[in-house]
């Protein structure tokens, strides 16, 4: 390829980094209200680079030749690949810098780009660009304007590096990097105690997951003697012969990291609280990009996960529990952003459900083996992509509502905004339709793929019952999703026109905010149709190094019809309950009061955690404090008092009198002389 390729690749992360540094140093003094300019420019550059590389990938596979030079495409050595690839797997690597070159740990900061990375990169940079444009309007006039864009750019840099990493260690570093940026941005309004607490909660909960992740990396390093993706995957057959049990441990540890970052039950509690941050942050980090890092990581580690059906079942199970639980909670939330947050959690659970089906290999009637792994991962990654667009759209729409309503987000306090905010309304409607899975929109296709993958899973040997349950959960969740997304839409935009008193002049948002909405809405409408049924996405993704190649791509028209029916059922129920006869919903609320309270209070999970974890830890901390204060301090004080006691005894020697010193000298002479005489006298 061209000489420019490595430069383009480096430019993707480096441009936001430079923007971040520039804004951080000069934002306050020089840029002030124009702080968004470097950020938007850098993201535009990154988007262009990512897009052009993507086009290269789209064009490449057919005429890719093995190329020894590192600065160019080359093909993975296929004879050592764990699973024989069906298609060439183009990888673009650029050498970076040697981070660690010890005896048995060689870590280089190289960039590696394959199809999966390219898709992620395009999504991240493009959504970031749109959100940054949106944020330049949304955050206008905030005193921390430069700080916001510095952290924002830094986040994009970290996310790009996370995606571009070619080994687990680098990935972990930038995994932490995005966690840091998430912390900074959730706590952006750190004057608000709730925001500071939410930031802290997100950070602490993520630590649990990250702990598992780093342990997993250690175990990978110990098992494979390397942390580089390609080398790890190469050595899988060898390890599978000697130590097959280790895969389950590794995968569960890695999945623990993914659970923290992607807000899976029971570590999902931080994500709804993270809505304390500015809405663009919620849209970008806590809906579209960062929380999908866990999905990306599991998808990237597919060759490891396929070795462990147990871990896969855990992934699927956790995903199902999360999806159902979050959807149930989202039913009754009144905070628009929280509905969306639980929706995000639920959709992430969906993705994990699909990822969990990746190891299933079953034998068809005609005795051909069907390898589901590529298809399942493709479904998850496809849902990731479409979800990024429509969830960002929904969050930005919610932000637009907030902007107009004077930062009020409680849906009980406003309604009927369809006339005041027509642009926001139409885009939000598109987002809701997509999320709910309206046929032909992108959410429909990706969700359908997941359902198909799970349905195929029910045919796999040994786990039929399990995957039947999972499939049932997925269908129920799809229905709930359709219901709550239209509940939110109906409560906000339909009904009688009401405004909270904080909204001084309800108005449509400025063009900088509505323009990204329209762009995202457009992508939400068409991206699924273009990429899904046509097979473009699947073909493209199948080239990535982590996947065994282009496998089966089953279609199930029955499921498609079921999913469409579910959508209409959910849509109709929501419309009946919240538009036609609102009394029904109120009556239902009263009738099912315990269930309603359970859902409204998020199944009391926060309280449960408080009693089960926080309070015991606090008691333990108190015990430690007492131990430290009275036992350790006592010991140390005792040790410290020994010299001072000795000093107090010996101190009178130093009384400063010349005669006294002379006497001690004389005493020394006498003792020396006597001792010498005794020695000589034998």
């Amino acid at each position: 390829m061209s000489e420019l390729t490595p430069a383009l690749l480096w430019l993707i992360p480096v441009a936001p980094l430079l923007a971040s540094v520039f804004i951080a140093f000069f934002g306050k003094a020089l840029l002030r209200g124009r702080s968004h300019v470097p950020c938007v420019a850098a993201l535009a550059i990154s988007t262009l680079c990512a897009g052009s590389l993507m086009l290269m990938f789209l064009a490449a596979p057919s005429h890719l030749k093995p190329d020894p030079t590192t600065h160019s495409f080359h093909q993975e050595p296929s004879e050592h690949a764990p699973i024989a690839p069906h298609a060439p797997q183009p990888v673009l690597t650029t050498p970076g810098y040697t981070w660690s070159d010890t005896d048995n740990l060689h870590v280089r900061l190289d960039l590696q780009m394959d199809a999966m990375t390219a898709i992620m990169l395009c999504m991240v940079t493009f959504v970031s660009l749109l959100v940054s444009i949106y944020a330049s309007g949304y955050m206008h006039g905030d005193p921390g304007y430069p700080r916001f864009f510095a952290a924002f750019s830094l986040f994009v840099f970290s996310m790009c590096m996370l995606v571009l990493a070619d080994n687990y260690l680098t990935m972990f570093v930038f995994w932490e990097g995005v966690g840091l940026c998430s912390y900074l941005l959730i706590g952006f309004w750190f004057q608000k105690p709730s925001a500071a607490a939410a930031a802290r909660k997100a950070f602490v909960v993520n630590r649990i997951g990250d702990f598992g992740f780093i342990l997993g990396i250690f175990l990978i390093w110990k098992t494979f003697d390397t942390v580089k993706f390609s080398e790890v995957f190469e050595r899988i057959p060898h390890v599978a012969e000697t130590n097959p049990a280790v895969f389950t441990t590794i995968c569960l540890l890695l999945f623990l990291g993914a659970m923290g970052k992607s807000a899976q039950f029971p570590l999902h509690v931080w994500l709804p609280d993270a809505m304390e941050g500015p809405t663009p942050v919620s849209a970008l980090i806590h809906a579209a990009t960062m929380v999908t890092a866990g999905v990306y990581m599991v998808a990237r580690s597919t060759p490891l996960f396929v070795m462990s059906p147990t871990a896969q079942m855990v992934v699927s199970g956790i995903g199902a529990i999360t999806a159902l639980l979050a959807a149930l909670i989202a039913l009754t939330q009144y905070d628009l952003k929280r509905v969306l947050a639980y929706s995000t959690v639920s959709q992430l659970g969906y993705m994990f459900m699909a990822l969990g089906a990746a190891s299933l290999v079953y034998t068809k009637n005609d005795a051909t083996h069907v390898d589901l792994s590529t298809f399942a991962v493709t479904a998850a990654m496809f849902h990731l992509l479409t979800h990024a667009f429509f969830k960002a759209l929904l969050f930005l729409g919610a932000g637009s509502v907030m902007h107009s309503m004077g930062d009020v987000i409680d849906m009980r306090r406003f309604s009927g905004l369809r006339h005041v905010m027509p642009h926001t309304r139409i885009t939000f409607l598109i987002g809701s339709l997509t999320l709910a899975g309206c046929p032909l929109l992108s959410g429909f296709w990706s969700k359908d793929d997941i359902l198909v993958a799970l349905f195929e899973g029910t045919k796999a040997g040994g786990h039929e019952t399990f995957f039947t349950v999972i499939l049932g959960v997925a269908v129920v969740t799809a229905f709930l999703t359709a219901f709550y997304s239209f509940r939110a839409y109906n409560m906000t935009f339909l009904g009688e026109e009401r405004f909270p008193e904080e909204a001084h002049h309800p108005h449509e948002s400025p063009p900088t905010m509505t323009l990204p909405l329209f762009v995202l809405a457009g992508f939400s409408l068409v991206i699924g149709l273009f990429l899904g049924p046509t097979g473009v996405y699947a073909r493209q993704l199948a080239q990535s190094t982590s996947l065994p190649g282009h496998g089966e791509h089953p279609h199930n028209y029955l499921l498609m019809a079921l999913s469409a029916a579910i959508f209409f059922a959910g849509y109709g129920l929501a419309r009946w309950m919240y538009v036609k006869s609102p009394a029904v919903s109120a009556g239902l609320e009263r009738g099912l009061k315990p269930l309603h309270r359970l859902s409204l209070n998020k199944f009391f999970l926060d309280e449960l955690f408080n009693y089960l974890l926080v309070i015991p830890v606090k008691v333990l901390a108190l015990l430690c404090t007492l131990f430290d204060k009275y036992v350790l301090d006592g010991l140390l004080d005792f040790a410290g008092s020994i010299p001072s006691t000795i000093g107090r005894i010996v101190r009178p020697i130093q009384n400063g009198l010349v005669s006294h010193y002379a006497w001690i000298m004389l005493l020394g002479v006498v003792l020396f002389l006597i001792q010498m005489l005794r020695a000589l006298a034998g």
């Binding site: 009384n655 400063g656 009198l657 010349v658």
Partner: protein, 142 residues
């Protein structure tokens, strides 16, 4: 006939007495005198050995001791005068700034003892060229 040991005994006694004087006396001048007496003891020792061995080394060293003692005396007296100028006293106990800051001052260990000797009276002499006035008491005393 002289015996070496006898002289050594006298020398060591002088040395020890000088050391005792240096340790117990508080007057800076008396302390210096005691130190000089210790030097005497050592000098006697050297001279005796010189005689015993029949060469002049001991005597030569005694001459050096003499020189050093003279230097020492000169410097010490200058120092004593400087110290005296600060405290208006020759008491060595007043110079205890080397002491640890936290221990009690050594001055407190002895209560002030009243002087046993009353202030000495010196005769008042008549300036030259004047006839002394007649005094009965003087006459009586004489």
């Amino acid at each position: 006939m002289t015996v070496l040991t006898n002289y050594l005994i006298v020398g060591s006694i002088l040395f020890v007495l000088g050391a005792i004087g240096f340790l117990t006396r508080r007057n800076l001048i008396t302390m210096m005198l005691s130190a000089e007496m210790m030097l005497h003891g050592v000098s006697l020792n050297l001279v005796s050995f010189s005689k015993y061995h029949g060469n002049m080394q001991g005597q030569a060293f005694t001459a050096f001791i003499l020189t050093v003692a003279a230097c020492e005396a000169g410097l010490a007296l200058a120092l004593i005068l400087t110290l005296y100028k600060r405290t208006k006293s020759l008491d060595v106990n007043l110079w205890s700034q080397l002491a640890d800051a936290e221990i009690d001052s050594p001055h407190e260990e002895e209560p002030a003892v009243p002087l046993t000797q009353p202030a000495q009276e010196f005769p008042h002499l008549t300036p030259a060229g004047k006839s002394p006035p007649f005094q009965k008491e003087t006459a009586h005393r004489v």
